[in-house]
């Protein structure tokens, strides 16, 4: 098959750029370890409490070491369960200091949900039967809205929470 000279140049340039993009993405993924979250850890969606992280008393924010936090969440239509505060009221907002490392662990009791801390790279699918996990460093100060970004039913847009990063 005959290819025009300009076309060869164009294709070499195009394929070269693609190869470069893939090398960058591959380098970040396999050397720096920035894969998208995938833990292939399974759980019974009808009995999430059997998993230590998702027992009612373990839900919400917990400091595990200096500047290191774990947040356990159980999603359900149409609520994120962050546990309860000292008065027994459901927690809707968590606060962490700037620069802390936060591990988000979440699962769902019923249907598929999303978990996105808008304005950060924390963005996960939450599917029945699986545990989604992502660790990140909170570098910027501010109030970030957590939105359910995967359709979960007609109350989908009322499912949210807040993460505040303070100085």
């Amino acid at each position: 098959m005959h290819l025009h000279k300009f076309e060869k140049i164009w294709l070499i340039f195009g394929m070269g750029s693609l190869a470069l993009f893939l090398v960058i993405i591959g380098f970040a993924a396999f050397w720096k370890g920035t894969h998208p979250q995938s833990h292939i850890e399974i759980i019974d969606p009808e009995n999430v409490e059997a998993h230590d992280s998702f027992k009612p008393e373990n839900l919400g924010l917990r400091e595990v070491a200096e500047g290191k936090y774990i947040v356990n969440i159980v999603a359900s239509a149409f609520n994120y369960d962050f546990g309860t505060d000292a008065d027994g009221k459901p927690v809707k907002k968590i606060r962490v200091p700037k620069g802390s490392t936060v591990l988000f662990q979440i699962t769902t009791k019923d249907v598929v949900h999303g978990f996105q801390v808008a304005g950060t790279n924390v963005n996960m699918m939450v599917e029945p039967g699986h545990v989604s996990r992502l660790e990140t460093e909170m570098k910027n100060v501010g109030e970030f809205t957590v939105v359910c970004n995967e359709y979960c039913g007609i109350g989908h847009h009322q499912m949210f929470a807040t993460v505040e990063v303070y100085e």
Partner: protein, 551 residues
């Protein structure tokens, strides 16, 4: 391709039936789109207690599945009829495919409209819609398969009658697109027939959610190429004729279609990059395969602009860009698809971002993605379809595209461009700011961050309104072309090869080879991960009816 066949009246009736459904779908789906943008601006409440997610489901299903599939199958039948012919028997099976698809569409549409299927267009197990929704969609797919095998048979009969000759380019392209559609839709058909229907009828207690999603996206990405390839057919083989030129290269066109066949299917994981149950290495492999699809698109871009330039220079337009100035800008059959080609540049670039292994987490499920496919599908593809309809409809109805309708068409294309630019740009920006897609209006308890989104939602409503005006105008033009335009003959433009063109290599028509490679790639990309998914599967999910408003 030198000898174009005449389209008989009874054949034209079949092709036009697909067009009627297409444009009816455009009106209904477009109206739903308008209502969505208005509702999401926060300034307007849907009347009669209609749920936002009902119209969202209608919009997605009717435009993404019904409009596209009906247009494509009707257009492809016309291309086959024109290049290789259609027999009485084939016409009969063509009608079967039409009625099956229509019955399925009506069934699914009623189920959605009565609020029994607020599950959007991608199903979302374990949300459970009424069984009629899944059965209706299955009928649409089965109907499309009847068309697939009719098209295959048309080319087969032609080949037998014309031993040793290469197939007409457009017939070859149709068969590639249908081969891709058939292989890809096996995934969604398996999911609907084996998983969803028994489960929604209560014969199976639970469903494997991850498997259903994987089977859906195995189909869901090639689906967008199924929309795109008919546009490519027009760009390669029809636009050159409209601008008064010749086919750039028969072999190149065939090669790029073969590459699209091979690389469009084993890529579905890039829609599932942020899912917890799939191994990241396999996600990466499918990202690499996704990037390969860009190559035939680069080939297409080159060949189209090469045609533009060659044609212009041959007509004697000088200077570096003289040929560009003298393209037929006032011919809507050229202008509408051309705008589509331009929109594909940012659209395609956005697609590379979406498919990138980690970058995806920034935009996954944000309204950026919606902005992306409103550039690619709702601009590139749809404007090209409109560009096709401007000559195909009058050709089939024995009427003419009058100068007045041509001018209205140009106005239509400009309205579309303005509306889409506003809407899609606002969606891209709001997505980068974190605004979610597939959501009704919400202030999420009034955080500052949410305030930055709402202005863009208002811009989307403005863009959506302009687009709807464009849709109404398009419907008017369609009705004129189908029923009222003056009688006459409108050309079916098919570009011819250069007299001294290089012969097309025979290997390009070796179906066993290309379909074999396609299947090998699919097996490579899916066997181990699907085995993994089955091996590491959690307890299945019981159905949930109430979250979508079913009692």
């Amino acid at each position: 391709m030198m000898n174009q066949l005449k389209i008989a009246k009874k054949d034209a009736r079949l092709y036009m039936s697909f067009m009627y459904v297409t444009f009816a779908a455009l009106l209904v789906g477009g109206l739903m789109g308008l209502l969505q943008t208005l509702a999401r601006s926060g300034k307007f409440t849907l009347p009669f207690g209609i749920n936002y997610y009902t119209i969202l489901t209608v919009h997605g299903v009717i435009l993404g599945l019904v409009l596209t599939t009906f247009f494509i199958i009707g257009f492809q039948f016309a291309l086959m009829g024109k290049t290789v012919g259609i027999s009485d028997k084939q016409r009969k099976t063509g009608w079967w495919s039409f009625w099956l698809m229509l019955a399925g569409t009506v069934m699914a549409a009623i189920t959605i409209l009565v609020g029994q299927a607020n599950v959007l267009y991608t199903f979302y197990a374990p949300l459970r819609a009424h069984p009629a929704f899944y059965i209706g969609l299955a009928l649409v797919i089965v109907g499309s398969w009847v068309a697939v095998f009719t098209n295959f048979h048309q080319l087969y009969v032609w080949k037998k009658a014309n031993k040793g000759q290469k197939s007409p380019l457009l017939a070859f392209m149709v068969v590639i697109n249908m081969a891709m559609w058939f292989i890809a839709s096996l995934g969604v058909a398996a999911s609907v027939l084996i998983q969803f229907i028994p489960w929604s009828l209560g014969y199976a207690e639970t469903i494997n959610v991850l498997l259903s999603r994987t089977l859906f996206w195995y189909f869901g990405h090639p689906l967008v190429y199924f929309w795109l390839l008919p546009a490519y057919m027009a760009w390669y083989a029809i636009i050159p004729k409209i601008i008064g030129g010749k086919l750039f290269s028969d072999s190149l066109a065939r090669m790029s279609f073969i590459l699209l066949l091979m690389f469009s299917i084993p890529v579905g994981f890039h829609h599932q990059l942020t899912e917890p149950g799939i191994d990241p290495t396999w996600k990466f492999i499918q990202v690499v395969l996704t990037f390969m699809v860009v190559i035939p698109t680069l080939m297409t871009a080159f060949s189209i602009f090469a045609t533009f330039e060659t044609t212009g220079r041959r007509k004697g337009h000088k200077g570096l860009f003289g040929w560009f100035k003298h393209l037929p800008w006032k011919d809507v059959r050229f202008l509408a698809p051309f705008i589509g080609m331009v929109a594909f540049i940012p659209g395609g670039a956005g697609g590379i971002v979406n498919a990138s292994h980690q970058m995806n987490s920034l935009i996954h499920n944000t309204i950026w993605v919606t902005g992306h496919f409103h550039l690619t599908v709702a601009t590139t593809v749809i404007l090209t379809y409109f560009g096709i309809a401007y000559w195909l409809v009058p050709h089939l109805t024995g009427r003419r595209l009058t100068p007045r309708l041509n001018k209205l068409g140009i106005i239509q294309a400009i309205i579309w461009t303005v509306g889409m630019t506003i809407m899609s740009t606002a969606m891209h920006i709001q997505g980068l700011l974190g605004g979610p897609r597939r959501s009704n209006f919400s202030t999420y308890a009034g955080g500052d961050q949410v305030q930055t989104w709402i202005g863009y939602q208002a811009a989307q409503a403005i863009g959506g309104t302009i687009l709807f005006i464009g849709i109404v105008l398009m419907i008017y033009i369609f009705i004129q072309l189908a029923f009222f335009a003056p009688r006459g003959v409108e050309e079916f433009p098919i570009a011819e090869e250069e007299v001294d063109a290089d012969p097309t290599p025979k290997v390009l028509e070796n179906w066993y080879l290309w379909i074999g490679i396609t299947i090998a790639l699919i097996l490579f990309a899916y066997t181990i991960p699907v085995f993994d998914i089955l091996k590491h599967s959690p307890p299945g999910s019981v159905p949930f009816d109430w979250p979508i408003g079913r009692p």
